[in-house]
């Protein structure tokens, strides 16, 4: 078990069978992410970056290969164990924000803590702190429909941090935002990396956004192409 790497993908394959045809979304992907690293994964549509993200986020299991999260092999775990891991170790940020529409900003942030059986008091305290952290202390009781896209994504960032995960996975977090708002969201992610030392894996097709990361990996046809350094040290 390597303490250096929080995420380790070794020869990971993901094959979907559509009719009688096998489609390989990942073809022996090997990728390691250091603890506290800010990694951007780039690639064109169909390159397998979302599949890779699902594997790292324990949303799916590989057809072949090994995935380790914080040293634990998660490639063959049962769904309930994976759910537990997701809830405790991973925070997701989605392109479409994916906030629950009937819940207020505060309640959306409290939900991941609910699944970890945290007390109401503690949930409230943490949700309020996190909302203040993303500059939405005055929008706690607003429904997602009452917030702008940028504000919704900031709520989603706060939700991703709810259970204080080690890894934050952001799948095209600026994809549904204009450039200015996208930059604000990126500033929050960078701050998160810098001040809290979170490991961040960012999936994007936007090279400007990717350059904010420490390292950029490119995927093509389900495997890595080459490695580049981002702007950040």
């Amino acid at each position: 078990m390597s303490k250096k790497y929080i995420i380790e993908l070794s020869n990971v394959w993901k094959t979907y069978t559509i009719g009688k045809v096998d489609v390989h979304a990942l073809r022996g992907l090997t990728l390691n992410v250091k603890r506290g690293e800010f990694l951007a994964v780039m690639g064109p549509s169909g390159s397998g970056k979302s599949t890779a993200m699902n594997m790292i986020g324990s949303l799916d299991i590989p057809t072949k290969g090994v995935i380790k999260l914080d040293g634990q092999d998660i490639s063959k775990l049962h769904e309930s164990d994976l759910a537990q891991i997701r809830g405790q170790k991973i925070g997701f940020i989605f392109q479409k924000f994916n906030l629950l529409p009937t819940f207020t900003a505060k309640e959306n942030i409290m939900l991941p803590m609910t699944f970890q059986k945290m007390s109401q008091e503690e949930k409230l305290k943490r949700a309020e702190n996190l909302l203040s952290l993303v500059g939405l202390g005055d929008r706690m009781n607003h429904l997602p429909s009452e917030l702008s896209g940028g504000q919704q994504q900031r709520v989603a960032i706060a939700r991703a941090l709810a259970n204080n995960p080690e890894v934050v996975l952001a799948d095209e977090p600026t994809g549904n935002l204009d450039t200015k708002t996208g930059n604000i969201v990126m500033q929050y992610l960078k701050k998160l990396h810098k001040t809290q030392g979170k490991t961040i894996v960012l999936v994007t097709h936007d090279s400007d956004i990717a350059r904010e990361a420490q390292r950029i990996e490119r995927l093509r046809d389900g495997a890595l192409v080459n490695t580049k350094r981002g702007n950040k040290k």
Partner: protein, 430 residues
């Protein structure tokens, strides 16, 4: 990190506290599921109300039927208790209450019964319809001839279990007077009320009204007229016929054994074999049992019909929940991504369907109570006072429990489907 320490400590505490709602994994979690479920129901208000209609119609019907049935049972039991458990009723015919039989009871049978072992007193009466005239009006009603002789009058009064609203009952050998039912005295039979002292004409015989019987609660009885048996025989030209014979058992004797004696003696007298009797001998207990059996069958059938509505209501909940699962597939994916286990999703959806069941049930109980009360008021307005409703806690709580079970069971399959969706597929769902 200090933060992680706090979270771990919280998790540990919660795990220890999971005793209040073990199924939901702790009290805190239950309220959370409840909140999520209520949020979802509120978001789809119209659909949720429409879904619940099925449940509350079913529950309302069940509550109304049971309450009316129970009320009726109580009234009948009360009447039989007033009649006395030491009485035996003998009626002609092999069917229930003589219906369907052509045989008749006669005064000879009465004499046989009088001699049966364990019988203290015997009386019998004759009832038929006849034309009654009053104040220029002429109407048909039931006229009962009851014995007013010194031996039988007392037992007859006991058997009739009537109270007088005005005046007095027929005296010994009173063939020139009549006692009228409550509604006749109230002016709801003839246009004008018949009062004590008024004269009525039955089959060309003028009789003076000397008493008005208090309300019984059954229009047949309350519009009836009671006259002396001998007079009735003359009017109907029935010298021997009796429609019912009532016997009182001697003190300390078991009514059922006396009933057996009567049956045996009557069989012999009427020359019939066991199992081929053309008469019925029933103790008060048996009479009550017969009434209750009929009432149970009728109530059972009605509840069965109401249950079909509940079943349809359950299917409605299932349909709504399936639609909800489809609509919220992406939400399910998000919840799973942020740590919800399959069991959490299952419980959220089950809670939602159970809430629809319980709210539907609660509204159903209220409507059922209102329906039963309306029927009772309508019955009273139509002079059927016997139809009284009784609401018991067991019926109300039982209905609520049942509707919750229906809601939960109906939601089970959709909830299981929701919980088994793979997170990655759910997130991809548009």
């Amino acid at each position: 990190m200090a933060d992680t320490g706090i979270i771990e400590e919280e998790r540990r505490k919660k795990a220890q506290n999971n005793v209040i709602f073990p199924f939901f994994g702790g009290g805190v979690m239950f309220t959370d599921y409840l909140k999520i479920a209520v949020n979802n129901i509120r978001k789809r208000k119209l659909r949720s109300w429409l879904t619940m209609i099925g449940i509350f119609i079913g529950i309302a019907a069940v509550v109304a039927m049971i309450s009316l049935g129970q009320g009726m049972r109580n009234s009948i039991t009360e009447q039989f208790e007033a009649f006395g458990i030491d009485k035996i009723t003998i009626m002609a015919g092999g069917g229930f209450f003589g219906i369907g039989g052509s045989a008749e009871l006669t005064t000879e049978d009465l004499d046989v019964i009088k001699k049966s072992r364990g019988v203290a007193e015997v009386t019998g009466f004759l009832t038929s319809t006849a034309r009654v005239e009053f104040g220029g009006e002429s109407k048909f009603t039931f006229i009962s001839g009851v014995p007013t002789g010194p031996d039988e009058r007392e037992l007859m009064l006991e058997v009739l279990t009537v109270d007088m609203a005005d005046g007095k009952f027929l005296g010994s050998g009173d063939t020139s007077h009549a006692v009228i039912g409550y509604l006749v005295g109230k002016g709801e039979f003839f246009e004008k009320p018949v009062k004590v002292g008024d004269k009525i004409v039955i089959a060309e015989k003028e009789l003076k009204v000397i008493g008005i019987i208090d309300k019984i609660g059954n229009p047949n009885d309350d519009t009836g007229i009671i006259i002396d048996l001998e007079l009735a025989r003359e009017i109907y030209d029935e010298p021997d016929r009796l429609d019912a014979i009532m016997a009182q058992v001697t003190k300390g004797t078991s009514p059922s054994s006396v009933a057996e004696n009567i049956e045996k003696d009557l069989r012999k007298h009427r020359d019939v074999e066991i199992g081929e009797e053309d008469f019925n001998v029933l103790t008060t207990e048996q009479l009550l049992e017969s009434f209750n059996t009929v009432l149970n069958i009728v109530t059972g059938i009605l509840i069965g019909i109401a249950s079909i509505s509940l079943l349809v209501g359950g299917v409605g909940i299932m349909n709504t929940m399936y639609t909800s699962v489809l609509e919220r597939t992406s939400e399910i994916g998000v919840m799973k991504a942020i740590g919800a286990r399959n069991s959490d999703i299952l419980k959220i959806f089950l809670t939602e369907s159970a809430i629809m069941g319980i709210i539907g049930g609660a509204i159903g109980v209220v409507i059922g109570v209102m329906m039963a009360k309306t029927v009772e008021l309508a019955a009273i307005a139509a002079n059927y006072d016997l139809l009284k409703v009784e609401f018991t806690a067991s019926v109300i709580l039982g209905s609520l429990f049942f509707s919750t079970v229906v809601g939960t069971l109906s939601g089970f399959l959709p909830a299981r489907q929701a919980s088994s969706i793979k997170p990655v597929d759910a997130l991809r769902y548009e």
